[in-house]
């Protein structure tokens, strides 16, 4: 299986403050991999570096092609989509307009309507509200729209930042099933999650970050079993 995304000794710092140091990770095509860690461990900085939203040192390659230093809009065009932390929808735009923004790079011609129908099939609630302002949706609906906005650009790599944040347990359960469905349709997913237990249940492989450095990595099953993960994150 070819490696879709490779990151090697990644350094991200804001002014004098280092956020990520010497990080290395991979995402083989077709897999779900999770990045775990407490608040401020550098998870979001890592994601923003991959997306080209912050300046970083080190190598980032998408299918072997170096993308570090490229502007965000060009990285997106290579098939990278983002479900940001806290969803960050365009709240003054309607649901439909948010989807149009999702497909901004690909344009709204070829098959856009078909893709939207496909998404509405997956998230029927969005179809009912498609003329509403995104800001007026409930938490769960906003999460659906954030994912829909990313999917409509037909990415090859989906980066999700804290998707379960602020959602009711029942909604989180349904959300993680949907993530598996999306992955089953061939979309590789890199997921940042504080909810380590849920994440490890659906991720194939996981990386544990502590204060900007890689503390541990391995297949999810192995990490589930290891006691320091248990103690540190699963409230064992």
């Amino acid at each position: 299986m070819s490696v879709l995304l490779r990151v090697q000794d990644l350094d991200v710092s804001y002014g004098a403050v280092p956020a990520v140091q010497g990080l290395a990770l991979e995402l083989p095509a077709g897999e779900i991999r999770a990045i775990l860690g407490a608040n401020g461990a550098g998870k979001t900085s890592t994601v923003k570096a991959i997306l080209g939203l912050v300046r970083a040192r080190g190598t980032i390659e998408l299918e072997g092609q170096p993308i570090q230093g490229a502007p965000a809009h060009r990285i997106h065009a290579l098939g990278v989509a983002w479900v940001p932390e806290g969803r960050q929808l365009f709240s003054t735009l309607t649901v439909h307009e948010n989807l149009e923004m999702g497909a901004f790079a690909r344009g709204h011609g070829d098959g856009f309507a078909a893709r939207v129908d496909d998404i509405f099939a997956m998230f029927p609630r969005l179809r009912e509200r498609h003329h509403q302002l995104a800001g007026s949706l409930s938490g769960g609906e906003q999460q659906m729209l954030a994912i829909a906005r990313a999917l409509v650009s037909e990415p090859r790599l989906l980066i999700m930042d804290e998707p379960s944040l602020g959602l009711a347990p029942k909604v989180v359960q349904r959300l993680f099933e949907q993530i598996q469905e999306i992955n089953a349709r061939g979309l590789s997913i890199l997921m940042v999650e504080q909810n380590a237990r849920q994440a490890l249940r659906i991720a194939h492989y996981a990386y544990l970050l502590e204060v900007g450095r890689l503390a541990a990595e391995g297949p999810s099953a192995a990490l589930m079993a290891s006691e320091n993960i248990q103690r540190a994150y699963l409230g064992g």
């Binding site: 080209g52 965000a72 997106h76 735009l93 149009e100 923004m101 999702g102 901004f104 790079a105 650009s153």
Partner: protein, 289 residues
């Protein structure tokens, strides 16, 4: 009663001149969080563009309008590249000062090129005045008002129903997320300043013809009043600035007409400040800056 109607009409006409300048000002402010203090000088460049067109090129209205708008847009794009883009993400006062410096330079450059006296712009639109009962208005006033309305509707359509308009609104609210979905934020910034400069150019041409003159320092009074309209309207809805501009115009006309015009600006500013005490985020709401 007749005088009251005439004063309200006078006010609407004056208000439309504030609104048409404020439209471009508030577009750049709402999309890019940049207070472009050189915007009044784009407006002045438009007026001088009209002057140059009428004297050396053509007196056909469309030609003069296009000439003025292109001159203003050219100045706008140069200023965007040199003084706005380098400091775009910074604290709101930094682009404020950078563009203030550009404004000062452009005013005195115009003074060096065109002299310190105002220059006359011949009436390209054949002068005529219409009377409806007690109320009279001139053709050029109606043309200026029409240009303001057309620009506002055009901007509204662009912002609501076009791909790049939607992208501009997305950048206004969440520049980072918009970039992550393929929007080249630098291009949107150039596009936004370009559009605001085109509108300022149209305002410069119409106001230059309405008051039949262009002057190196004509931008100052418009800069102050359209800045006030922009803040009072809030930066969420660009059309809001049109409504506030008309309100300010009518307010000034009524104060001049019925109180004393010596206190005109004091009363106008006073009322706008009172509005803000009750609606701290502007009449129509705004994004945080």
């Amino acid at each position: 009663m007749d005088l009251f109607l005439q004063q309200v009409l006078n006010g609407v006409m004056i208000g439309s001149t504030y609104a048409v300048v404020a439209l471009g000002f508030s577009l750049v402010f709402s999309v890019m969080r940049v207070v472009n203090m050189a915007h009044p000088e784009f407006f002045m460049a438009g007026a001088f563009g009209a002057y140059v067109m009428t004297r050396y090129v053509t007196t056909n209205v469309a030609g003069v309008l296009a000439g003025g708008m292109l001159v203003a847009a050219a100045v706008g794009l140069v200023v965007e590249r040199l003084a706005i883009r380098p400091v775009r993400g910074r604290y709101v006062m930094i682009p404020f000062i950078a563009t203030s410096g550009v404004g000062i330079a452009l005013q005195h450059l115009a003074e060096r090129v065109f002299g310190s006296d105002p220059v006359a712009i011949p009436a390209v639109v054949p002068a005529a005045s219409y009377t409806f009962g007690p109320v009279s208005v001139t053709r050029m006033q109606l043309v200026t008002f029409a240009i303001a309305v057309v620009l506002m509707l055009g901007l509204r359509y662009y912002v609501r129903n076009t791909k790049w308009g939607r992208a501009t609104r997305a950048v206004a609210e969440r520049p980072e997320v918009a970039a992550a979905f393929g929007v080249d934020v630098d291009f949107v910034s150039r596009l936004t300043v370009g559009i605001s400069a085109l509108m300022a150019g149209a305002a410069g041409v119409s106001i230059g013809m309405l008051y039949t003159s262009a002057w190196a320092f004509m931008g100052l009074i418009y800069g102050l009043k359209s800045f006030v309209c922009m803040l009072v309207a809030g930066n969420r809805h660009v059309e809001g600035v049109m409504v506030v501009g008309l309100m300010l115009g009518v307010l000034e006309a009524l104060v001049s007409g019925y109180l004393t015009s010596t206190l005109r600006d004091a009363v106008a500013f006073g009322v706008l400040v009172v509005v803000l005490v009750f609606k701290p985020n502007g009449l129509f709401g705004s994004y945080s800056v």
